[in-house]
Symmetry: C2
Subunit: 276 residues, 2 copies
């Protein structure tokens, strides 16, 4: 059993060299992706991830070469070949090969079946540090492949022992490089409503939190976040990860708060039962 | 004789499928490029293009795997194999293959030797239309592969019979999608000094114009451009291409001006003698 990928109709070993050099994602950064995982062997919120992927493709004007049903069959095949209970799937849709390095003719569609990334149990328990970063993502509602700032700042993050960047512009926060951000002000759970990617884990947390907290989805200032009682970030791989430091500023008392731990608990219950 | 490419030490046919699917330019848009051509079989301003490429690589923290001298030998080999007097070279340096889709380990270096693109003699004579577009390039001094807006707007440009986009933000202009912009106000030749790529053709035009015109390199407002006597754009493939319409607004009397034609004439003289 071993990890494989799907590329334009073929199933191939994960290390295959495939892309011709005139693909528009290589030459022009014209590509988009999505990423999700299984729990109990079942893709988490597959309909939601597919809908988001379809939406990104529509906004980038790239026709999807396969239906959701056909794609589900490909996922099953890749999952079986991997021979692991839990896997992650990475979708990449690019502008395809282009003779003039501008015109889209036929997108390339890639699905990689990957091992789950190492999780960060220490981070979930103790919280992480992030660096404030003056930036707003271009076309934030599309999951494009543009993550240049994240990689550019990797050394700086390591040096400052930070796990991620917190994007803000004109004092308004939006998101982290690959995840959404929430804050607690007393029992109010607040998260930005604009310049963000529509995270599936974000949506899950909003649903889980609704019976327990006063949920507010609205613009959020950086100052408001810095003075929040608790802050956390959500993503497919981070779940609800406490943020206890933003640059040199400590959030609350510098440890994960009880309300964030409550969100984690609700999330763990959900995924433990997923597909059962 | 046929077109070939260089990839990490090998010379291969131009259509070769080469890239593994975990390259950081595919997954994260982490890549940069450069593009130049020959005149009389000799690469145009090779030292300048190389210096710019080196600078982009340094700013993206990507080590260059080969020296300028080694690269020059590769260009000669590719040029010989192409068997054409005039060719274009496209350099692409990517973040390379990444196990965690974040960490740079070893960049991939690609050089494509390509046929010259079709030039646009009608455009040089009659001028082109561009669409004003509210945007400023991210990391403008780096020639990254991020050209998403250009491709996203391709249909709209075709519909409006426009050849390109003119980027402006807060009423200040910067550049077109792949070229610099100049305007004439009487005998003053003016071009923006910030939020631009440092174009080699731009630099050539500044040098050629200096003895003939009052050259000003400084911030330029969109309004100033709209009311200029003449406007043109410069790039490796466009030379000095007159812009006669910006959206619904006509520049001057809607035909290329004499001063722009003078710049074209100076440029043609230079490249006709290049390498001789």
């Amino acid at each position: 059993m071993s990890y494989h990928l799907y590329f334009n109709g073929q199933i191939l070993p994960i290390e295959s060299a495939l892309f011709q050099t005139n693909d528009l994602s290589l030459l022009r950064g014209y590509g988009m992706f999505d990423y999700f995982r299984t729990y109990n062997g079942v893709p988490f919120r597959w309909n939601d991830y597919w809908a988001r992927f379809e939406n990104s493709a529509r906004l980038l004007k790239l026709p999807l070469p396969v239906s959701q049903e056909e794609t589900a069959a490909i996922l099953t095949e890749l999952h079986t070949r991997a021979g692991e209970a839990e896997v992650a799937f990475r979708f990449v849709l690019t502008g395809g090969y282009s003779a003039d390095s501008v015109s889209v003719v036929q997108p390339n569609f890639l699905i990689r079946c990957e091992p789950l990334p190492k999780d960060n149990p220490a981070g979930l328990l103790k919280g992480i540090k992030v660096l404030p970063y003056d930036y707003v993502r271009d076309l934030p509602e599309i999951k494009t492949t543009n993550y240049v700032h994240m990689i550019l700042m990797a050394d700086e993050m390591k040096q400052q022992q930070a796990a991620d960047l917190l994007f803000h512009k004109d004092n308004e926060i939006s998101e982290l490089t690959r995840s959404n951000v929430f804050l607690f002000k007393g029992d109010s759970l607040i998260t930005p409503d604009r310049n963000i990617l529509n995270g599936i884990t974000r949506r899950t947390v909003l649903e889980l939190a609704a019976p327990h907290f006063d949920v507010q989805v609205r613009p959020v200032l950086l100052d408001e976040l810095l003075h929040a009682n608790e802050v956390f970030t959500t993503s497919t791989t981070k779940w609800a990860m406490p943020i206890v430091q933003v640059g040199e500023h400590t959030i609350g008392n510098g440890t994960p708060g009880n309300r964030t731990l409550k969100i984690q608990e609700l999330f763990v219950k959900l995924v433990e039962q997923w597909g059962k």
